[in-house]
Symmetry: C2
Subunit: 219 residues, 2 copies
DNA sequence: CCGATTTGGTGCGCACGTTCACAAACTCCT
DNA sequence: AGGAGTTTGTGAACGTGCGCACCAAATCGG
Protein backbone atom coordinates (compact mmCIF):
# COMPACT_ATOMS: atom_id res chain seq x y z
CA UNK A 1 0.00 0.00 0.00
CA UNK A 2 2.78 2.40 0.87
CA UNK A 3 6.20 2.43 -0.62
CA UNK A 4 9.03 2.55 1.86
CA UNK A 5 9.60 6.28 1.80
CA UNK A 6 6.38 7.41 0.22
CA UNK A 7 3.84 7.82 2.98
CA UNK A 8 0.95 8.40 0.53
CA UNK A 9 0.48 11.92 1.76
CA UNK A 10 -3.16 12.50 2.54
CA UNK A 11 -4.85 15.58 1.21
CA UNK A 12 -3.09 18.53 2.77
CA UNK A 13 -5.35 21.55 3.38
CA UNK A 14 -4.59 24.57 1.22
CA UNK A 15 -3.87 26.76 4.21
CA UNK A 16 -1.28 24.26 5.40
CA UNK A 17 0.37 23.99 1.99
CA UNK A 18 0.77 27.76 1.95
CA UNK A 19 2.64 27.60 5.25
CA UNK A 20 4.95 24.69 4.48
CA UNK A 21 7.43 26.86 2.52
CA UNK A 22 7.62 29.17 5.53
CA UNK A 23 8.45 26.25 7.77
CA UNK A 24 11.07 25.13 5.31
CA UNK A 25 12.69 28.53 5.43
CA UNK A 26 12.55 28.59 9.21
CA UNK A 27 14.15 25.14 9.35
CA UNK A 28 16.93 26.36 7.10
CA UNK A 29 17.53 29.31 9.42
CA UNK A 30 17.68 27.03 12.46
CA UNK A 31 20.06 24.69 10.66
CA UNK A 32 22.28 27.66 9.84
CA UNK A 33 22.47 28.38 13.53
CA UNK A 34 24.03 24.96 13.96
CA UNK A 35 21.05 23.36 15.62
CA UNK A 36 20.21 19.72 15.01
CA UNK A 37 16.98 19.41 16.98
CA UNK A 38 14.19 21.85 17.63
CA UNK A 39 10.88 21.82 19.45
CA UNK A 40 7.59 22.86 17.95
CA UNK A 41 7.87 26.02 20.01
CA UNK A 42 11.23 26.92 18.51
CA UNK A 43 10.10 26.27 14.98
CA UNK A 44 6.76 27.97 15.46
CA UNK A 45 8.29 31.17 16.73
CA UNK A 46 10.86 31.11 13.92
CA UNK A 47 8.02 30.76 11.45
CA UNK A 48 5.78 33.25 13.20
CA UNK A 49 2.86 30.92 13.87
CA UNK A 50 1.07 29.26 16.78
CA UNK A 51 2.83 26.07 17.99
CA UNK A 52 -0.41 24.09 17.92
CA UNK A 53 -1.02 25.11 14.34
CA UNK A 54 2.50 24.10 13.41
CA UNK A 55 2.09 20.66 14.93
CA UNK A 56 -1.26 20.11 13.25
CA UNK A 57 0.20 21.23 9.93
CA UNK A 58 3.13 18.84 10.25
CA UNK A 59 0.85 16.02 11.31
CA UNK A 60 -0.70 16.10 7.83
CA UNK A 61 2.65 14.99 6.43
CA UNK A 62 3.17 12.18 8.89
CA UNK A 63 4.75 11.74 12.30
CA UNK A 64 8.25 13.04 11.90
CA UNK A 65 8.81 14.27 15.43
CA UNK A 66 9.73 12.45 18.62
CA UNK A 67 7.61 13.04 21.71
CA UNK A 68 9.57 14.41 24.59
CA UNK A 69 12.36 15.43 22.21
CA UNK A 70 11.29 17.52 19.27
CA UNK A 71 12.03 17.45 15.56
CA UNK A 72 15.27 16.46 13.88
CA UNK A 73 15.80 19.50 11.71
CA UNK A 74 17.41 17.85 8.69
CA UNK A 75 14.99 14.95 8.79
CA UNK A 76 11.95 17.20 8.94
CA UNK A 77 13.41 19.47 6.30
CA UNK A 78 13.71 16.57 3.93
CA UNK A 79 10.16 15.45 4.48
CA UNK A 80 8.62 18.90 4.16
CA UNK A 81 10.60 19.46 0.98
CA UNK A 82 9.41 16.11 -0.29
CA UNK A 83 5.79 16.91 0.48
CA UNK A 84 6.12 20.14 -1.48
CA UNK A 85 7.64 18.33 -4.42
CA UNK A 86 11.09 19.85 -4.06
CA UNK A 87 12.86 16.58 -4.65
CA UNK A 88 12.84 17.63 -8.26
CA UNK A 89 13.35 21.00 -9.90
CA UNK A 90 10.41 22.75 -11.53
CA UNK A 91 10.88 24.69 -14.71
CA UNK A 92 9.11 28.01 -15.03
CA UNK A 93 8.51 30.22 -18.06
CA UNK A 94 8.08 33.94 -17.56
CA UNK A 95 5.86 35.76 -20.03
CA UNK A 96 6.55 39.48 -20.18
CA UNK A 97 10.02 40.78 -19.45
CA UNK A 98 9.16 44.28 -18.36
CA UNK A 99 10.56 45.57 -15.12
CA UNK A 100 8.78 43.02 -13.00
CA UNK A 101 9.58 40.10 -15.26
CA UNK A 102 13.24 41.08 -15.32
CA UNK A 103 13.32 41.44 -11.56
CA UNK A 104 11.83 37.97 -11.15
CA UNK A 105 14.30 36.54 -13.61
CA UNK A 106 17.24 37.98 -11.68
CA UNK A 107 15.91 36.93 -8.28
CA UNK A 108 18.29 34.34 -6.93
CA UNK A 109 16.10 32.91 -4.21
CA UNK A 110 14.41 30.48 -6.58
CA UNK A 111 17.13 27.98 -7.33
CA UNK A 112 17.51 26.82 -3.75
CA UNK A 113 13.79 26.14 -3.60
CA UNK A 114 13.44 23.85 -6.54
CA UNK A 115 12.41 26.59 -8.97
CA UNK A 116 14.32 27.12 -12.20
CA UNK A 117 13.59 29.91 -14.65
CA UNK A 118 13.71 27.96 -17.90
CA UNK A 119 12.56 30.46 -20.50
CA UNK A 120 11.54 34.05 -21.13
CA UNK A 121 8.90 35.10 -23.62
CA UNK A 122 7.73 38.53 -24.72
CA UNK A 123 5.51 39.83 -27.48
CA UNK A 124 7.56 42.98 -28.02
CA UNK A 125 9.86 42.42 -31.05
CA UNK A 126 12.29 44.95 -29.57
CA UNK A 127 12.84 42.69 -26.57
CA UNK A 128 12.96 39.37 -28.40
CA UNK A 129 16.53 38.17 -28.76
CA UNK A 130 17.91 40.23 -25.88
CA UNK A 131 19.61 38.39 -23.06
CA UNK A 132 18.50 38.68 -19.45
CA UNK A 133 20.30 36.76 -16.76
CA UNK A 134 21.76 34.30 -19.22
CA UNK A 135 18.46 33.60 -20.96
CA UNK A 136 17.44 34.77 -24.41
CA UNK A 137 13.98 36.28 -24.75
CA UNK A 138 11.87 34.25 -27.17
CA UNK A 139 8.85 35.45 -29.16
CA UNK A 140 5.34 34.39 -28.22
CA UNK A 141 5.20 32.21 -31.31
CA UNK A 142 7.76 29.89 -29.76
CA UNK A 143 5.87 29.54 -26.49
CA UNK A 144 4.21 26.24 -27.28
CA UNK A 145 7.33 24.53 -28.56
CA UNK A 146 9.40 25.80 -25.61
CA UNK A 147 6.86 24.48 -23.16
CA UNK A 148 6.63 21.11 -24.82
CA UNK A 149 10.35 20.60 -25.42
CA UNK A 150 11.42 21.51 -21.92
CA UNK A 151 8.42 20.02 -20.13
CA UNK A 152 7.57 23.31 -18.45
CA UNK A 153 4.42 23.11 -16.35
CA UNK A 154 4.43 26.45 -14.51
CA UNK A 155 4.17 29.91 -16.05
CA UNK A 156 4.36 33.44 -14.71
CA UNK A 157 2.33 36.21 -16.32
CA UNK A 158 4.15 39.51 -15.87
CA UNK A 159 2.48 41.49 -18.63
CA UNK A 160 0.16 44.51 -18.51
CA UNK A 161 -3.36 43.68 -17.44
CA UNK A 162 -4.83 44.08 -20.90
CA UNK A 163 -2.69 41.23 -22.27
CA UNK A 164 -3.22 38.82 -19.39
CA UNK A 165 -6.22 36.87 -20.68
CA UNK A 166 -4.72 36.47 -24.11
CA UNK A 167 -1.47 35.22 -22.61
CA UNK A 168 -3.31 32.86 -20.29
CA UNK A 169 -5.17 31.36 -23.23
CA UNK A 170 -1.91 30.83 -25.08
CA UNK A 171 -0.35 29.23 -22.00
CA UNK A 172 -3.26 26.86 -21.56
CA UNK A 173 -3.13 25.96 -25.24
CA UNK A 174 0.58 25.24 -24.85
CA UNK A 175 -0.11 22.76 -22.08
CA UNK A 176 0.68 24.84 -18.99
CA UNK A 177 -1.34 23.71 -15.97
CA UNK A 178 -0.19 26.17 -13.28
CA UNK A 179 -0.09 29.94 -13.62
CA UNK A 180 1.14 32.68 -11.33
CA UNK A 181 -0.53 35.88 -12.44
CA UNK A 182 1.04 39.24 -11.57
CA UNK A 183 -1.03 41.15 -14.09
CA UNK A 184 -3.81 43.29 -12.61
CA UNK A 185 -6.64 41.38 -14.23
CA UNK A 186 -8.75 38.33 -13.52
CA UNK A 187 -8.00 35.55 -15.96
CA UNK A 188 -10.34 32.65 -16.56
CA UNK A 189 -8.92 29.23 -17.32
CA UNK A 190 -10.24 25.65 -17.53
CA UNK A 191 -10.87 23.82 -14.28
CA UNK A 192 -7.77 21.68 -14.55
CA UNK A 193 -5.49 24.71 -14.56
CA UNK A 194 -4.43 26.29 -11.26
CA UNK A 195 -4.09 30.05 -11.11
CA UNK A 196 -2.65 32.04 -8.25
CA UNK A 197 -2.86 35.80 -8.32
CA UNK A 198 -0.46 38.31 -6.82
CA UNK A 199 -1.60 41.88 -7.12
CA UNK A 200 0.72 44.53 -5.79
CA UNK A 201 -1.69 47.43 -5.77
CA UNK A 202 -4.41 45.35 -4.16
CA UNK A 203 -2.09 44.58 -1.27
CA UNK A 204 -1.44 48.27 -0.78
CA UNK A 205 -5.13 49.07 -1.06
CA UNK A 206 -5.88 46.60 1.72
CA UNK A 207 -3.27 48.24 3.91
CA UNK A 208 -4.75 51.64 3.11
CA UNK A 209 -8.14 50.38 4.20
CA UNK A 210 -6.78 49.38 7.58
CA UNK A 211 -4.99 52.69 7.95
CA UNK A 212 -8.23 54.49 7.23
CA UNK A 213 -10.06 52.50 9.87
CA UNK A 214 -7.49 52.95 12.59
CA UNK A 215 -7.35 56.66 12.01
CA UNK A 216 -10.51 58.70 12.21
CA UNK A 217 -12.21 59.72 9.01
CA UNK A 218 -9.51 62.01 7.71
CA UNK A 219 -5.77 61.41 8.08
CA UNK B 1 -25.92 58.68 14.64
CA UNK B 2 -24.85 58.65 11.01
CA UNK B 3 -23.58 61.56 9.06
CA UNK B 4 -25.25 62.14 5.73
CA UNK B 5 -22.73 60.43 3.50
CA UNK B 6 -20.85 58.45 6.08
CA UNK B 7 -22.79 55.27 6.67
CA UNK B 8 -20.65 54.27 9.66
CA UNK B 9 -19.32 51.25 7.83
CA UNK B 10 -19.68 48.20 10.00
CA UNK B 11 -16.76 45.87 10.37
CA UNK B 12 -16.06 44.47 6.96
CA UNK B 13 -14.72 40.88 6.94
CA UNK B 14 -11.11 40.56 5.82
CA UNK B 15 -12.07 38.27 2.95
CA UNK B 16 -14.45 40.91 1.67
CA UNK B 17 -11.92 43.72 1.99
CA UNK B 18 -9.49 41.71 -0.12
CA UNK B 19 -12.08 41.45 -2.87
CA UNK B 20 -13.22 45.07 -2.93
CA UNK B 21 -10.25 46.23 -5.02
CA UNK B 22 -11.11 43.54 -7.55
CA UNK B 23 -14.66 44.81 -7.75
CA UNK B 24 -13.35 48.32 -8.18
CA UNK B 25 -11.23 47.23 -11.10
CA UNK B 26 -14.13 45.33 -12.65
CA UNK B 27 -16.34 48.39 -12.27
CA UNK B 28 -13.72 50.49 -14.03
CA UNK B 29 -13.64 47.98 -16.87
CA UNK B 30 -17.42 48.07 -17.21
CA UNK B 31 -17.41 51.87 -17.16
CA UNK B 32 -14.79 51.84 -19.93
CA UNK B 33 -17.22 49.81 -22.00
CA UNK B 34 -19.62 52.71 -21.76
CA UNK B 35 -22.06 51.00 -19.43
CA UNK B 36 -23.90 52.98 -16.79
CA UNK B 37 -25.75 50.19 -15.01
CA UNK B 38 -24.84 46.58 -14.32
CA UNK B 39 -26.44 43.66 -12.55
CA UNK B 40 -24.76 41.65 -9.84
CA UNK B 41 -24.34 38.90 -12.42
CA UNK B 42 -22.47 41.18 -14.80
CA UNK B 43 -20.19 42.52 -12.11
CA UNK B 44 -19.61 39.12 -10.56
CA UNK B 45 -18.52 37.54 -13.79
CA UNK B 46 -16.27 40.50 -14.54
CA UNK B 47 -14.69 40.07 -11.14
CA UNK B 48 -14.55 36.28 -11.35
CA UNK B 49 -16.67 35.55 -8.29
CA UNK B 50 -20.06 34.09 -7.38
CA UNK B 51 -22.93 36.60 -7.76
CA UNK B 52 -24.26 35.78 -4.29
CA UNK B 53 -20.87 36.39 -2.78
CA UNK B 54 -20.62 39.71 -4.57
CA UNK B 55 -23.99 40.85 -3.26
CA UNK B 56 -23.16 39.81 0.25
CA UNK B 57 -19.82 41.62 0.03
CA UNK B 58 -21.46 44.80 -1.20
CA UNK B 59 -24.15 44.59 1.43
CA UNK B 60 -21.47 45.16 4.08
CA UNK B 61 -20.94 48.63 2.64
CA UNK B 62 -24.63 49.51 2.52
CA UNK B 63 -27.48 49.22 0.04
CA UNK B 64 -26.18 50.86 -3.08
CA UNK B 65 -28.10 48.84 -5.66
CA UNK B 66 -31.67 49.13 -6.89
CA UNK B 67 -33.80 46.01 -6.90
CA UNK B 68 -35.09 45.09 -10.27
CA UNK B 69 -32.48 47.31 -11.88
CA UNK B 70 -28.94 46.68 -10.74
CA UNK B 71 -26.08 48.89 -9.67
CA UNK B 72 -25.29 52.35 -10.98
CA UNK B 73 -21.68 51.83 -11.89
CA UNK B 74 -20.31 55.27 -11.04
CA UNK B 75 -22.33 55.44 -7.84
CA UNK B 76 -21.14 52.05 -6.64
CA UNK B 77 -17.61 52.83 -7.71
CA UNK B 78 -17.58 55.89 -5.54
CA UNK B 79 -18.87 54.05 -2.52
CA UNK B 80 -16.51 51.10 -2.84
CA UNK B 81 -13.60 53.52 -3.26
CA UNK B 82 -14.79 55.39 -0.22
CA UNK B 83 -15.02 52.23 1.86
CA UNK B 84 -11.45 51.40 0.89
CA UNK B 85 -10.27 54.86 1.85
CA UNK B 86 -9.47 55.95 -1.67
CA UNK B 87 -11.05 59.34 -1.20
CA UNK B 88 -7.59 60.42 -0.18
CA UNK B 89 -4.19 59.48 -1.52
CA UNK B 90 -1.92 57.32 0.58
CA UNK B 91 1.80 57.95 0.63
CA UNK B 92 4.11 54.96 0.53
CA UNK B 93 7.82 54.70 1.21
CA UNK B 94 9.79 51.93 -0.46
CA UNK B 95 12.80 50.59 1.43
CA UNK B 96 15.29 48.85 -0.81
CA UNK B 97 15.66 49.94 -4.41
CA UNK B 98 17.02 46.77 -5.90
CA UNK B 99 15.40 45.30 -8.94
CA UNK B 100 12.08 44.69 -7.25
CA UNK B 101 11.99 48.06 -5.52
CA UNK B 102 12.76 49.82 -8.78
CA UNK B 103 10.08 47.85 -10.58
CA UNK B 104 7.52 48.80 -7.95
CA UNK B 105 8.58 52.42 -8.13
CA UNK B 106 8.07 52.49 -11.88
CA UNK B 107 4.76 50.65 -11.79
CA UNK B 108 2.12 53.08 -12.98
CA UNK B 109 -0.94 51.26 -11.75
CA UNK B 110 -0.69 52.79 -8.29
CA UNK B 111 -1.62 56.40 -8.88
CA UNK B 112 -5.10 55.63 -10.13
CA UNK B 113 -5.77 53.61 -7.00
CA UNK B 114 -4.97 56.18 -4.40
CA UNK B 115 -1.38 55.04 -3.90
CA UNK B 116 1.50 57.49 -4.25
CA UNK B 117 5.14 56.52 -3.98
CA UNK B 118 6.40 59.31 -1.78
CA UNK B 119 9.98 58.30 -0.99
CA UNK B 120 12.71 55.77 -1.68
CA UNK B 121 15.23 54.63 0.89
CA UNK B 122 18.23 52.34 0.64
CA UNK B 123 21.14 51.45 2.89
CA UNK B 124 23.61 51.11 0.02
CA UNK B 125 25.63 54.36 -0.22
CA UNK B 126 26.17 53.66 -3.91
CA UNK B 127 22.44 53.95 -4.51
CA UNK B 128 21.74 56.92 -2.26
CA UNK B 129 21.34 60.09 -4.29
CA UNK B 130 20.47 58.34 -7.54
CA UNK B 131 17.17 59.19 -9.15
CA UNK B 132 14.54 56.59 -9.96
CA UNK B 133 11.31 57.63 -11.58
CA UNK B 134 11.67 61.22 -10.49
CA UNK B 135 12.48 60.38 -6.88
CA UNK B 136 15.86 60.65 -5.19
CA UNK B 137 16.99 57.70 -3.11
CA UNK B 138 17.51 58.74 0.51
CA UNK B 139 19.73 57.04 3.10
CA UNK B 140 18.24 55.00 5.92
CA UNK B 141 19.21 57.70 8.38
CA UNK B 142 16.62 60.00 6.87
CA UNK B 143 13.81 57.46 7.10
CA UNK B 144 12.29 58.77 10.30
CA UNK B 145 12.28 62.41 9.23
CA UNK B 146 10.87 61.55 5.80
CA UNK B 147 8.05 59.57 7.35
CA UNK B 148 7.20 62.26 9.84
CA UNK B 149 7.42 65.22 7.49
CA UNK B 150 5.34 63.68 4.76
CA UNK B 151 2.93 61.83 7.01
CA UNK B 152 3.70 58.48 5.39
CA UNK B 153 1.87 55.59 7.02
CA UNK B 154 2.57 52.69 4.66
CA UNK B 155 5.96 51.17 3.84
CA UNK B 156 7.16 48.51 1.46
CA UNK B 157 10.12 46.31 2.36
CA UNK B 158 11.93 45.26 -0.80
CA UNK B 159 15.27 44.31 0.71
CA UNK B 160 17.03 40.96 0.99
CA UNK B 161 15.59 38.70 3.65
CA UNK B 162 18.45 39.19 6.06
CA UNK B 163 17.77 42.92 6.36
CA UNK B 164 14.00 42.67 6.70
CA UNK B 165 13.66 42.56 10.48
CA UNK B 166 16.11 45.40 10.98
CA UNK B 167 14.25 47.52 8.43
CA UNK B 168 10.90 46.65 9.99
CA UNK B 169 12.16 47.77 13.39
CA UNK B 170 13.34 51.05 11.90
CA UNK B 171 10.00 51.55 10.17
CA UNK B 172 8.06 50.94 13.35
CA UNK B 173 10.33 53.32 15.23
CA UNK B 174 9.68 55.93 12.56
CA UNK B 175 5.94 55.65 13.11
CA UNK B 176 4.90 53.43 10.21
CA UNK B 177 1.79 51.37 11.02
CA UNK B 178 1.31 49.34 7.83
CA UNK B 179 3.97 47.28 6.09
CA UNK B 180 3.97 45.31 2.88
CA UNK B 181 6.84 42.84 3.09
CA UNK B 182 8.35 41.41 -0.07
CA UNK B 183 11.46 40.12 1.65
CA UNK B 184 11.60 36.34 2.15
CA UNK B 185 11.54 36.48 5.93
CA UNK B 186 8.98 36.66 8.69
CA UNK B 187 9.12 39.97 10.49
CA UNK B 188 7.67 40.52 13.93
CA UNK B 189 6.14 43.85 14.82
CA UNK B 190 3.98 45.27 17.62
CA UNK B 191 0.29 44.42 17.61
CA UNK B 192 -0.78 47.82 16.36
CA UNK B 193 1.23 47.45 13.15
CA UNK B 194 -0.29 45.58 10.20
CA UNK B 195 2.00 43.46 8.07
CA UNK B 196 1.09 41.81 4.81
CA UNK B 197 3.54 39.44 3.18
CA UNK B 198 4.06 38.74 -0.50
CA UNK B 199 6.54 35.99 -1.19
CA UNK B 200 7.24 35.22 -4.79
CA UNK B 201 9.03 31.93 -4.35
CA UNK B 202 6.39 30.68 -1.93
CA UNK B 203 3.74 31.25 -4.57
CA UNK B 204 5.72 29.18 -7.04
CA UNK B 205 6.36 26.49 -4.45
CA UNK B 206 2.62 26.20 -3.87
CA UNK B 207 2.05 25.79 -7.59
CA UNK B 208 4.79 23.18 -7.72
CA UNK B 209 3.05 21.27 -4.96
CA UNK B 210 -0.16 21.11 -6.97
CA UNK B 211 1.73 20.07 -10.07
CA UNK B 212 3.33 17.27 -8.12
CA UNK B 213 -0.02 16.05 -6.89
CA UNK B 214 -1.76 16.09 -10.23
CA UNK B 215 1.06 14.20 -11.86
CA UNK B 216 2.11 10.86 -10.49
CA UNK B 217 5.21 10.70 -8.33
CA UNK B 218 7.75 11.69 -10.97
CA UNK B 219 7.14 14.21 -13.73
C1' DC C 1 -53.97 49.61 -11.26
C1' DC C 2 -52.35 44.87 -11.07
C1' DG C 3 -49.46 41.02 -11.84
C1' DA C 4 -45.41 39.02 -13.90
C1' DT C 5 -40.49 39.50 -13.99
C1' DT C 6 -36.14 40.97 -12.76
C1' DT C 7 -32.82 41.77 -9.31
C1' DG C 8 -30.78 43.13 -4.75
C1' DG C 9 -30.61 41.80 0.33
C1' DT C 10 -30.15 38.27 3.88
C1' DG C 11 -30.95 34.21 7.09
C1' DC C 12 -29.28 29.53 7.51
C1' DG C 13 -26.73 25.35 7.06
C1' DC C 14 -22.23 23.44 5.78
C1' DA C 15 -17.34 23.11 5.44
C1' DC C 16 -12.91 24.73 6.46
C1' DG C 17 -9.48 26.44 9.51
C1' DT C 18 -7.85 27.55 14.13
C1' DT C 19 -7.22 26.74 18.88
C1' DC C 20 -7.39 24.22 23.16
C1' DA C 21 -6.62 20.48 25.97
C1' DC C 22 -5.18 15.96 26.87
C1' DA C 23 -3.31 11.37 26.10
C1' DA C 24 0.76 8.95 24.39
C1' DA C 25 5.57 8.52 24.25
C1' DC C 26 10.23 9.66 25.09
C1' DT C 27 14.28 11.24 28.20
C1' DC C 28 16.54 11.90 32.37
C1' DC C 29 17.45 11.37 37.06
C1' DT C 30 17.47 8.80 41.10
C1' DA D 1 13.38 0.14 37.15
C1' DG D 2 10.29 3.68 37.95
C1' DG D 3 8.57 8.22 38.30
C1' DA D 4 8.76 13.07 36.99
C1' DG D 5 9.15 16.26 33.44
C1' DT D 6 8.85 17.31 28.31
C1' DT D 7 7.06 17.39 23.99
C1' DT D 8 4.47 15.51 20.11
C1' DG D 9 0.09 14.17 17.90
C1' DT D 10 -4.80 14.59 17.64
C1' DG D 11 -9.80 14.68 18.88
C1' DA D 12 -13.17 18.16 19.81
C1' DA D 13 -15.01 22.74 20.29
C1' DC D 14 -15.26 27.15 18.33
C1' DG D 15 -15.38 30.83 14.95
C1' DT D 16 -15.38 32.47 10.25
C1' DG D 17 -16.56 32.44 5.61
C1' DC D 18 -19.11 30.60 1.67
C1' DG D 19 -23.11 29.47 -1.04
C1' DC D 20 -27.73 28.18 -1.47
C1' DA D 21 -32.31 29.60 -1.24
C1' DC D 22 -35.75 32.50 -0.03
C1' DC D 23 -37.75 37.24 0.61
C1' DA D 24 -38.51 42.05 -0.66
C1' DA D 25 -38.63 45.75 -3.74
C1' DA D 26 -38.72 48.01 -8.07
C1' DT D 27 -39.80 47.99 -13.07
C1' DC D 28 -42.51 46.92 -17.16
C1' DG D 29 -46.52 45.73 -19.78
C1' DG D 30 -51.24 45.54 -20.35
Amino acid sequence: MNLLNTPAIRNIPEATVARLPVYLRALAALADQGLGICSSNDLASAAGVNPAKLRKDLSYLGSYGTRGVGYDIEFLRYHVARALGQTQDWDVVIVGVGRLGSALCAYNGFSSRGIRIAALVDSDPAKVGSKIGGLTVAPMSELASLVREQGVAIAVIATPGAAAQEVADALVAAGITSILNFAPAVVSVPDDVTVRKVDLSIELQILAYHEQRVRGVAG
